[in-house]
Symmetry: D2
Subunit: 347 residues, 4 copies
């Protein structure tokens, strides 16, 4: 019963098979392997973007930091949610890669609102050369708290960015989960709304460690390549990144895994709801933040369930006190394990 | 007949098997996986350094840049060979990671000499606060031109560094090949001589993409972890790095592969010598730089042999003109292929 | 009637005289001039800190950015007020100098409160290596809105910093104005409370362009010198910085000017209060933020008074609408000009 | 008898007078002072470049580092002489400001030769994304060893840069001295040859501390302003920089001072030559590198003459051993002092 994160499960068998298959003979290094050609073609087809630049790196932080660096000047500020991964969980990597740029936390919660975003952007540059200059807007989809922006919500944000002529980055560490939740196309969720660059996650949804960066303006391609190399993220035996992504994009593995993860979370949240749990955020993809009594937590803990206690502590006298859990389902979670987890709420 | 680089061959079956085996169930992320405990223990045993900090990253450039950054201040300069990888092939990654530090190229060739190193170091800091300050000495072993410093040669360099109280970094992208060539222990080639930090290569010698950084002063450990995360080189599904290195270090795979690669190169250089080739550098590990006539190059080329023409061009009228080749043997090269390669020198 | 800023007035005659006097013959460059010895001695005496490292730079941003860089690692975050100069008015200079560190804006207004500071600090590092690490606390005294922390208020903040073992920086661009307001000693306002490093302003209070950085731990001295040089802030003809500061610190010029500026502001705020103005912040030094009717603004504007309209716009139909002004008095303002300014409120 | 450097003499009376005159009343801060308008107009007239962007900073290192940063990407390398100030005397400031770029030292001596420059440039980028990319060429005029490139020599270098489409920076810390030596116009020595950006020195030739950066492509202007602010080099009381430069550019002070300094050096070198001194470099402006016997050095030293012993040491037994001196004449040196210096060679 592992619900701690979707970054801790196994790779999908199809992905692993492709990696194993790739391990034969010699292959040109540094992204010149033929599997990368296949990946590039597939990704462009998925995004309906025949000119898009497509690159692979091994971590989500690398994807975000490099994607942002190509769209940020050192004297600018990146607009993002106060709980965004780029702010909270990357140990200043975006600042580092963007040459000491700043992040501006748009007031509010997990999801940015257009008004708050507009106010944040409008506030900057009022001080001319003295203040940080306006830089890209970074939107996380699926959000850090398991929400999914609707296409209308996304459009409202990208339109604000475009009012100010700012580029838009989509942190899609859980890109497929969002797509599965919305039932739209990759193009509809990105460049058709004005998104300029996407971090397209693979690791959390069935890969070993691979993320794509998709840049819709191919003129940024060479800069990205140089930044990737300089950041030490260019793999010599690149075929093993390519193979992961090729396996992931083949036979609908990526969308199938995301749908499975979302369905797992839906089953889990339905069960939690039935048992009276309170939700901190409405679960819309594969992450759940819910409160339930300490005694249930303790039973789950004793049974070996793994997840983060998000608020409060297992230690405490009151068995009825509500503690919040963060529960993440990945593609490999099974209905049986979910039901087993839920069984501890009974009795 | 692929002699272009040791970064383009397949992973060793034992390494791949370990990766496949690791792909089961859940594992703690970010280096907390149990396989990493095994790797750390093995590495400490190999280096006879029970307190050493051991970390994994996926590229050699990351290993070098992070290892150096932990031993360099932004106002210092790193002393290295003019043909070192950190200078020529990392697109300013060491400068980037070390906060805009400088590299000082010690005059001379592939191998640094103690006198040239001492003169370079002595020259700096004469201008007080104006000049760059003295920083670490970075030594490449196996060298970029296929040489191997003897222990005495290494000691002569580390002693110069210690005269000035400077840390020493060993770029061991081909660490095992050097060890196989010298027949000494890892400890004898490193900390016993005064080396402070090692980039311990795996990728070129049988892994998919993994390098270790071994830091002998454990007080640097936390800084390394923060720099690794900030550089976006901390893997969430870290077990796949751990598994590669665990497979590599098990059953003597690492030393066996290096010995095989070196033996392949010895067979090849013996054959070349027998056919009258001239050597630009004395081959001491698994890389050969040799000159032979254009007509042989052309035959090899037509037969599909892959390698870099290091000096000159295949295009040209004179069939007897000598062109230099760089020929690299990895662990997976076979005597049969080498003999097939050499057969083109006959007749 | 110039109330726009204290960075636009003339230099004090005593300061200018000292500069002119210094302009004779040769002087050792780069801070080795004898006037710097005098400055260092005076500053140490003022701070009752015989071992303090004392350096001069030409801008307040340089003083802040260099002072902070010596106390911040690139993976840390600096805690400060959301309206602090280092965040709002230095175009990412602190991030740049600190190697791409972050700034954490402590929720609240102009003055930080101990509880908000503690909560901000406590929040960081909960995510281990993933989040930014805790760095220095930067306190602005006089605050950006013209407030002055009492010694008790300062102590409450420095004690929070010390709970977490964090260094404390005091942005004293208006250091003398704060001292004049509190009537305490420089030592009492700094190291006796746990402040580690001070940006000691000169420019706004009678100099042409000079600020001191006073570091109480002399072990940081050499690092500061290297950072200053690397930041291009080391003057060759340093005597002209020294002479300004020497003139400023002589004959109580610095405290006399600050007292004059504060008295000017007190006269002005008393007058404004008498005329019914509303204060956005209680003026405690030489800056005033006050609301009064548009028609008065228009009269002042027509009479050539210069200041920032802080809220609202001179353009508008309603003559009674209250608009806020920022009014700053420097040492050179006179009672006559203040009374002339106030005369426009009458009738 | 002060020949140690031209950075240690007094400011020219006309410069100081202008600074004193500027110290009256209020002036708009941050470069919006009216004196800056005058400076900009004068500088554009001098350079016959009506659209040039003109900015002031206080140190030569700031001028160089900011000028270069506007023309360098972090993954590029700057081509320069191995003895250039930007390499030897700026403690990595160019690397810092250019976001961790590299410097490539063009083999040879003080003056770069076109062939060596071409070879250095040609060598880079052969390794594609792996190596540093080609960046600007930085030429020092007057050179560090007192040489002056002829217009033909300069053109030969700028043409090499243009072959590769690279921008050209001129480090003109002693710009006026070079102009005086060549007898050409500022335009002829810069943009007419293809120079893109100039560090135009004031400090060494009669100012307190001010340098201009002249950028011929006005599209770089805003980037420069942001980089200047972010580097903490934007002065609030900017009028004192403007006033220095205005005084310097008025009434031919700048060219008169340079001519005087060069004439002083010519008188000194003629005297040295007459006394049999050997010249390490042919003196072409205001710096002399010459060898003469230890006993003369000792007499000069005893008489209080100040200069750097460039090679060898005053300590030593052999009175006839030749030691090299670096002797720099600034505008304020007098024929009498020079003759007094030379008198120690007699008898």
């Amino acid at each position: 019963m592992y619900f701690a994160s979707d970054n801790s499960g196994p790779a999908h068998p199809a992905v692993m098979a492709r990696v194993t298959e790739a391990n034969a003979g010699y292959a040109m290094p540094y992204g010149a392997d033929p599997i990368m050609d296949e990946v590039r073609d597939k990704m462009r087809a998925i995004f309906e973007a025949p000119d898009a630049a497509v690159y692979l790196v091994a971590t989500g932080t690398a994807a975000n930091a490099l994607a942002l660096a190509c769209h940020t000047q050192p004297w600018q500020t990146i607009f993002c949610s106060p709980v965004s991964h780029i702010h909270e969980d990357e140990c200043n990597a975006p600042e580092f890669y963007a040459g000491a740029a700043k992040l501006t936390l748009v007031p509010g919660g997990d999801k940015m609102t257009p008004d708050a975003l507009r106010a944040s952007i409008a506030y900057e540059e009022k001080r001319g050369v003295h203040g940080p200059q306006r830089g890209p807007v970074s939107i996380t989809q699926v959000t850090e708290r398991g929400g999914v922006y609707s296409l209308d919500e996304l459009r409202a944000l990208t339109e604000v960015a475009k009012e100010f002529d700012l580029p838009v980055h989509l942190d899609g560490a859980r890109f497929a989960n969002a797509l599965a939740a919305l039932g739209c196309s990759a193009a509809e969720m990105t460049w058709k709304l004005g998104v300029d660059v996407v971090s397209f996650g693979g690791t959390k949804n069935g890969c070993l460690g691979v993320e794509a960066v998709v840049i819709f303006d191919p003129e940024k391609a060479w800069e990205f390549e140089l930044r990737r190399k300089r950041g030490a993220h260019l793999f010599s035996k690149h075929r093993y990144l390519s193979a992961q992504m090729a396996g992931y994009l083949s036979d609908n593995v990526w969308m199938g895994s995301a749908a499975a993860a979302n369905a797992n979370a839906a089953r889990l949240s339905a069960g939690l709801r039935a048992h009276g749990a309170e939700f901190l955020h409405e679960p819309e993809a594969n992450m759940i933040f819910a409160r339930f009594p300490r005694r249930v937590h303790q039973k789950l803990h004793d049974a070996g369930a793994m997840y983060y206690v998000w608020e409060g502590s297992l230690e405490g006298d009151d068995p009825d006190e509500l503690l919040a859990a963060r529960l993440v389902c990945d593609w490999s979670m099974t209905p049986e394990l979910i039901d087993q987890f839920l069984s501890h709420f009974e009795g």
